[in-house]
């Protein structure tokens, strides 16, 4: 990059939340920590007494933990994948969004990755996965791919953070030692900028296939079995689409929350919501298309076991959840997002909330009804989660909120240098790029 130097004195609004601690911050942290402590206590109880503390039984041997595992890992796609795609396509409107997206990934991935562990009957034997791991098991594919994604996305979060950390260090307000350490001797020399840009460029490419692999292999946990409702070739892409879909919805909620809390109206403008809203609309339609393909194929084949599970979902006990899911994931977002008048920040918030509910229900509808309909006759039991599972779900959400709050306490939630780069260089670069698309005047007039 040519002679670009971010200015630590501009964009004061982005530094303010870091340097001024309000009472609201401590209250938020207090409430979240209380919820987390309660969840930890419930988990310890489960460790002591056994998984019987949950509502799981036979034949529903997987419940909330696996649902939330898939759900949280899905949300993690918000981040890195969206941010990488927007960077690759040089979407200029990405600048205030990417940082938040990357933070979501890192935090949610850690939460999601813990879920299979709290679901284990013997978490004390976790090391067996490494000592005796069978690479033929889809669970091992998960371990591999989630760790790769976690490593890649933390690096991808950290790299673009370095110049901002250096700005904070140079402001010399607080936590000087921390910023000094994390800035890794960043001086903003042209050589350093060159290396940083190259590193970001490599990571944004690397992250995309890893992200796709993560949700593909999560779907394989289900698809590789012979169970009706799971054994489907479409599951890989279906899960990836659902993941990106719920990820964007989560990103919107984070954007709206921070816009309000930190008064970032000047940075996160309606146009950013409009642009990303279009992507959300597209994902909604694609998700619905995949759902249609999946269910129609199952229905048309009419295999008895498959049919039983399918009708159980569409007309049985889970029917109301199924139709709520379709309303949440298709009817509401498409209505709100396809009209310019309704695609306001309020409309986007409403559809993001329904999408998160709908996508959580989708995970539930995949996991539970299939297990409730085994191929061989089995005494029918209904899965009802217990307080243990519900409080661990609340705890997971609280860890997410707390992680985000703490990140925002130490680092700018909107990338300062990228915003300034957009101001100083992006404008000219974009003009140059657009000029390049146009027919060459000098030749045609000659």
């Amino acid at each position: 990059m040519h002679n670009f130097e971010p200015d630590g004195r501009r964009d004061e609004a982005l530094f303010r939340p870091i340097e001024q601690t309000t009472r609201k911050f401590w209250m938020t942290v207090g409430i979240l920590v209380a919820i987390i402590l309660f969840a930890v206590a419930m988990f310890v109880r489960q460790l002591v007494f056994g998984l019987g503390e949950t509502g799981m039984m036979q034949p529903v041997t997987w419940g909330f933990y696996i649902i939330n595992f898939v759900f949280f890992i899905g949300i993690s796609h918000a981040g890195t994948l969206i941010s990488a795609i927007l960077r690759i396509t040089q979407a200029e409107w990405r600048r205030p969004i990417t940082r938040m997206a990357e933070v979501i990934t890192a935090i949610v991935l850690a939460i999601g990755g813990l879920h299979p562990i709290i679901d284990l009957g013997r978490p004390d034997r976790l090391m067996n996965v490494f000592l005796f791991g069978r690479l033929q098991s889809p669970l091992l594919w998960d371990v591999t791919s989630i760790s790769a994604y976690f490593a890649a996305s933390t690096v991808y979060l950290f790299l673009p953070l370095i110049p901002d950390v250096a700005l904070l260090r140079d402001r010399k307000k607080k936590h000087h030692w921390l910023y000094d350490f994390l800035s890794w001797g960043w001086q903003g020399t042209p050589e350093q900028w060159k290396v940083l840009h190259r590193a970001i460029n490599i990571m944004m490419i690397v992250v995309v296939p890893i992200a796709v692999s993560v949700h593909t292999v999560i779907s394989y946990i289900f698809a590789m079995t012979l169970q009706s409702g799971w054994h489907s070739t479409i599951f890989g892409p279906y899960f990836v689409v659902g993941a990106i879909f719920s990820g964007i919805a989560a990103l919107f909620i984070a954007m709206i929350a921070f816009r309000r809390a930190f008064h970032l109206e000047a940075y996160l403008k309606p146009i950013h919501f409009q642009q990303l809203g279009k992507l959300l609309l597209a994902m909604s339609v694609i998700w619905t298309y995949f759902t249609f393909c999946e269910y129609l194929t199952g229905y048309y084949g009419g295999e008895p076991a498959e049919m039983r599970t399918l009708l159980y979902k569409l007309t049985g006990r889970y029917a109301w959840l199924f139709w709520t899911m379709l309303t949440c994931n298709f009817v509401v977002p498409v209505t709100l997002l396809s009209s310019r008048k309704l695609r306001t920040i309020g409309g986007i918030l409403a559809s993001s909330i329904t999408i998160l509910i709908g996508m959580w229900l989708e995970r539930l509808i995949i996991v539970v009804p299939s297990l409730e309909n085994p191929r061989m006759p089995f005494p029918h039991h209904i899965y009802v989660p217990t307080l243990t599972e519900i409080s661990l779900f609340a705890g997971a959400l609280a860890v997410f909120a707390l992680g985000f709050t703490l990140f925002a306490k130490f680092f700018p939630i909107v990338s300062v240098w990228e915003t300034q780069e957009g101001r100083q260089l992006g404008l000219a670069e974009t003009a140059e790029r657009v000029t390049g698309y146009l027919p060459d005047d000098t030749v045609s007039h000659a």
Binding site: G52, W62, G121, Q136, L140, M224, L226, R375
Partner: protein, 230 residues
């Protein structure tokens, strides 16, 4: 080497559940409280499927034991992340309790729903402590377990045959459920022995296997009722 398998004659099954009781005692299978049982935490290595056919008063109850099918191509062992469930040298599907991490993936993958999970640790009632079988290890909470075709009996039978310097005979090794069946509906032996009772019956036209279309190749055969239609 013998390919151990079972043939169950559904014409002879009376639904007495002697196999269920014998298995429970033989293998130290946990007894859960009535409340836990109501919640779907019953533990069985063999269970009786019952089906009521027809309308009152012309009804008929049909029963069929359901146990680990000891598939040649088991869906459960494929998915195990830690090699805790595996196909042993005898072709029997085993479960290593001290290695199992309790992820219950094998339970979700089993098309026959024959695996049980230790949701809690239940102290056996005092009267049962006296009759615990010392040949079968008790399982801690948090691991999956299932029928082993009474593998400990095979080990004992092998030892005995070796001590007596003679080959292992079919009669030396019979699982507890087969021993207990008063109607002689369950038969156990070498499926490859074409002249043996089990080998012959498994090749009869009445022999079927459960969920055969899945390609799991179970080693438990059922002889269909001769009055297949009501």
């Amino acid at each position: 080497m013998a390919r151990w398998g079972m043939v169950i004659d559904l014409d002879r099954c009376t639904g007495c559940a002697a196999c269920v009781a014998a298995c429970k005692v033989e293998n130290n299978v946990q007894v859960v409280s009535p409340e836990e049982s109501e919640r779907g935490r019953r533990m069985h290595w063999i269970r009786l499927l019952t089906e009521v056919r027809g309308d009152y008063p012309d009804t008929e109850v049909r029963t069929q034991p359901n146990l680990c099918m000891m598939c040649e191509n088991p869906p459960c062992t494929k998915v195990c992340p830690v090699h805790a469930t595996y196909v042993g040298a005898d072709g029997l599907v085993g479960q290593i309790y001290p290695r199992c991490i309790g992820c219950r993936y094998c339970m979700a993958a089993c098309p026959y729903t024959v695996k049980s999970f230790n949701w809690y640790h239940h102290e056996p009632p005092p009267e049962l402590v006296q009759i615990q079988n010392p040949d079968v290890s008790v399982r801690p909470k948090g691991v999956v377990e299932k029928c082993t075709f009474c593998y400990h009996r095979l080990q004992l039978a092998r030892e005995k045959a070796r001590a007596e310097r003679r080959p292992l005979r079919e009669a030396d090794y019979q699982p507890a459920c087969v021993n207990a069946c008063p109607a002689d509906a369950m038969m156990f032996g070498d499926l490859d022995d074409e002249l043996g009772r089990v080998g012959q019956l498994s090749r009869s036209t009445r022999a079927v296997r459960m969920q055969e279309h899945l390609g799991t190749e179970p080693k438990v055969y059922f002889l269909e009722r001769r009055d297949a239609q009501l």
